[in-house]
Symmetry: C2
Subunit: 137 residues, 2 copies
């Protein structure tokens, strides 16, 4: 799997916001709390709004808040929105579309690990993240 730095930033943002699901967060506040370059963070927040994960409130006293129930947002959706699903289904030898064919010499060796990764991303929602600290399973 090839997770871009931008997707990691998205995880930072959304997992942080999930701590208090109903709160409104400003870009400046988030910048201080999760250490993502401010300008880049702003762009990413707008992007995440366009993808419908969060919504923006403009003007003074504005900011960002969730637009969907956080137990319905999976990690896979987030990666999909930023990097695309191809980044996850990638062939480990870099050949085209591992998802539909399975012809490369390392496919069998890698398949199980790949599925495990996809399963974790699919099964984990934003609401699971802070639960996990106390070991709920």
């Amino acid at each position: 799997m090839n997770l871009s730095k931008t997707s990691k930033y998205a995880f930072r943002i959304l997992s942080h916001m999930a701590k208090d699901e109903k709160a409104l967060y400003s870009a400046q506040q988030l910048h201080k709390e999760i250490d993502v370059p401010e300008k880049y963070l702003r762009r990413l927040l707008t992007d995440l709004s366009k993808h419908g994960f969060i919504k923006s409130i403009q003007g003074r006293q504005g900011g960002f808040t969730f637009n969907r129930d956080i137990n319905q947002i999976t990690l896979l959706e987030i990666v999909d929105a930023i990097d695309g699903l191809d980044s996850i289904n990638e062939c480990i030898l870099g050949y085209e579309s591992c998802a539909f064919s399975h012809s490369c010499p390392m496919h069998n060796i890698w398949e199980e690990t790949k599925q495990k990764t996809i399963k974790t991303l699919t099964d984990t929602t934003l609401s699971d993240i802070h639960k996990s600290i106390v070991g709920v399973n």
Copy 2:
């Protein structure tokens, strides 16, 4: 895990060479067989030689052949040589050194998947690759 395109190329090269462990392969031949840009491939082959996986034989009738027993070369060693171990131990939120600390909010959720990936890379050697096609386990 963040596997660079170059590491994928390295996998292509070495897994292909592992089909006939004792053979001597020229860069030109490999280029035709595994579809890696020729100049880049040459550089990578030299690099893999310097890392001791293969050795080069210079001059006319030269080429590359394994320098070590292929059942002793793990996938992890290859990734380590090209991308470094950090690329594997990476924190999923992009914070520093997941390996020694484990303090980010998503660590617990990700840890098992990460370990599965590392285990596969550690346990798989070049000699396992072509065996796996007939389903040996």
